[in-house]
Symmetry: C2
Subunit: 333 residues, 2 copies
């Protein structure tokens, strides 16, 4: 029986060290392939691709391939594809959310404007597919093109449920499984595909990635009401200001009285927000133990992720992937 | 020696009739494949996909495949891919250009907002790649993923050269070859690929599509200064208001005196525009015969497109594709 190790950042460092050479090769490929004679493209892409990202998703692809005993180098290019798709969605997300900060720095849309952010996102997305075509696996192309459509569906559903306090937990889960978990699931699954492993291992890595991604997003949504801005490297209260209906809000809304529901409707539906409202939202969420229960939910997905790893032999890759579960959840502390 | 027939709209009707059953199958597939459980996606997509488009690009794919003697039905799905990619770029273009009208109707961004337009564009792009993967041709995937990256590069270059009267004709041509001609070229080229024809025919159809697309965009850029709004089905003067540096402006700027250049710098670079400025821009462009020469340039590309068809046997497909050249240029009258 595996349990999540206690380590937080250490787990990320350990994983990064484990696949260090592969990650360096992946980073070199990312820089080489975001080149374009149109200088603004690498400039803008470098701002987001090269600056401060954890590279969590490509790390997952690299480690999953090694976990499956893969000894070639195709996984490096596929990890770069995953990062390009992720980066394209970040650029478009920041435009859609009107975000000013990303990883503690001015976001690309704040710095370069919305227009190039939309178009450079399109470029990176197309470039990801060019890289996949060069790799030549129709199975990988099928997985990542389906994931890309699912991400867009999740993002649109998020937009539709925004400012709507009648959103259900099922809809919320559909949003985060689309916008976040689908790419985690694809990132880990293609590790098994590139290693040509049996369907059971592919399914196990898919389950691991999906559960991990769901846990990751649940914690992210908790952090938006809990963390200090500097520590988090993103503006807190973003979800509140945008009227995003996340699990902490859903739980506090369900558990609140009529007066409190009126508060949520005014601030999230009517988007009439005054100074002090974010603080009150944080108090209500705390009072109804909505953060604790959101993280508890994340922990349950974390256990599902760990369980999925059980069919693989013990070893440094399996331990590193198990510890990443703890890392994703430890961010909430 | 082929010459462009005199027909305008007739040529489009003839082409549509020639591949009528294929086009109907393509339209059915488009409607089926833009479906999503997230209802806003087909709603928004239907607004742009189903409403009023000429379907010029998928028509080119269908006719090119038949010209190459293809007798299967794979070209139908690939024509749908081409239209999905085109639609995705239209949605993003309208966001970037802040357009209020598209084909004479309220644009998707004006009706639904910028945010869903960005995300539904992403969805359609991903869906195009899913369809290509199902078709299973890595060569088609290579052509359309490269074209998609080139389109984004052209769009970014257009943004970079916007409001810059020092833009050269070479840069302008790079913009329109990217944003428009690349997809025309890919659309016709994959007709030869799906028919498994020799490289010479693939190259000829690529040349035809690229030259036709360039002519099409040149005429489009001329129309923005010449046509009446109702006839054109788009707001005229858009390029002027946005400060886009198109060939009519480049020619008028080159041929103008210092006073006129001051006018162009004020209106396009500083974007200080007053009532009457569009009319003056139109007069200057007329006076320097910049529209005539832009259309003349389009005609030269049209001749190149016609010449590329010469290696194919005479027949209804070749005649229809030749007449489409005349159609694209006749729009300027």
């Amino acid at each position: 029986m595996m349990t999540a190790a206690s380590g937080g950042e250490d787990a990320l460092t350990a994983l990064t060290t484990l696949v260090g050479e592969d990650l360096e090769a992946c980073n070199r490929l990312i820089v080489a392939r975001m080149h374009s004679p149109v200088a603004l493209i690498p400039q803008l892409a470098a701002h987001i691709v090269a600056a401060g990202g954890k590279r969590l998703r490509p790390l997952l692809t690299l480690a999953a391939a090694r976990l499956c005993g893969y000894r070639g180098d195709r996984h490096v290019a596929l990890a770069a594809c995953v990062e390009f798709i992720h980066t394209a969605t970040l650029l478009h997300d920041d435009v859609v959310d009107e975000s000013a900060l990303r990883r503690g720095q001015a976001s690309a849309n704040a710095l370069f404007g919305n227009k190039p952010s939309v178009l450079v996102g399109d470029f990176l997305f197309a470039r990801a597919f060019e890289l996949m075509v060069q790799d030549g696996s129709l199975r990988v192309l099928a997985i990542l093109s389906a994931a890309s459509a699912t991400i867009a569906e999740g993002e649109v559903l998020q937009l539709v449920t925004q400012n709507d306090t009648t959103t259900t937990e099922a809809q919320y889960l559909q949003v985060i499984e689309g916008k976040t978990a689908a790419l985690f699931a694809a990132a880990t699954r293609i590790g098994a595909v590139v290693a040509d492993r049996p369907a059971a291992e592919e399914a196990a890595l898919e389950t691991y990635g999906r559960a991990l991604g769901t846990a990751f997003q649940l914690v992210d949504d908790a952090l938006d009401y809990a963390a200090e801005e500097e520590r988090l490297g993103k503006t807190i209260g973003d979800d509140f200001r945008e009227g995003k209906i996340t699990l902490p809000v859903l739980l506090a809304f369900q558990r609140g009285d009529e007066d409190e529901r009126g508060f949520w409707r005014r601030t999230l539906e009517a988007r009439e927000q005054a100074p002090g409202d974010l603080a009150r939202a944080q108090r209500l969420i705390e009072q109804h133990q909505a953060l604790r229960d959101t993280v508890e939910r994340a922990r349950a997905y974390g256990e599902e992720a760990l369980a999925a790893l059980a069919i693989f032999p013990d070893g440094p890759e399996r331990r590193a992937l198990a510890d990443i579960v703890a890392f994703c959840i430890a961010r909430a502390r």
